[in-house]
Amino acid sequence: SQQGEEDPQALSIQEGENATMNCSYKTSINNLQWYRQNSGRGLVHLILIRSNEREKHSGRLRVTLDTSKKSSSLLITASRAADTASYFCATDWNSASKIIFGSGTRLSIRP
């Protein structure tokens, strides 16, 4: 079973707009990560936020974490065609670094 659920399942926006994806999870966590997957390819790690952090930035990415609500959001600013991909949140909560993925958000950027 999957730990996280992303919302929305699919998102289509105009190039240049901002894209926001949300992730909810079930159990207490050590870390939450976001990954990107281009069609038919492997996943690429984007950013990791620890359970004691509330916000983190990396380039055009902004991640927030609310442990009281067991939720996280990923904001991509000034979207580009190359951002078209599926985005997954992933959590780990035990000492063995077991990583469990959510169901993903499919993001499409319209030119």
Partner: protein
């Protein structure tokens, strides 16, 4: 730049046949993961190794799936016999001990006919 290598990239096999996938993690990465990803879904963890030891295989269908990492480096995932429902992408990933940022290979796309 170091990468996780997987082979083959694509595999078509008939049901009831045996199939095997190979993964070579990034050098020095003690943790190795095998995931199965059905089209349109997120990756599902099948097995996790720490060096040569299995840390978690709770979601591995052990009646037909097996995984090994004999020398704590490369790993093989086997399915015998393959079933139609095994058609999926099989992803291998690795990470350094104590860190959970995982590096993924390109995956093996399995089609069972």
């Amino acid at each position: 730049e170091a990468e996780v290598a997987q082979s083959p990239r694509y595999k078509i096999t008939e049901k009831s046949q045996a199939v095997a996938f190979w993964c070579d993690p990034i050098s020095g990465h003690a943790t190795l993961y095998w995931y199965r990803q059905i089209l349109g879904q997120g990756p599902e963890l099948l097995v996790q190794f720490q060096d040569e030891s299995v840390v978690d295989d709770s979601q591995l269908p052990k009646d037909r799936f097996s995984a090994e990492r004999l020398k704590g480096v490369d790993s093989t995932l086997k399915i015998q016999p393959a079933e139609l429902g095994d058609s999926a992408m099989y992803l291998c990933a690795s990470s350094t001990q104590g860190r959970t940022e995982a590096f993924f290979g390109q995956g093996t796309r399995l089609t069972v006919v």
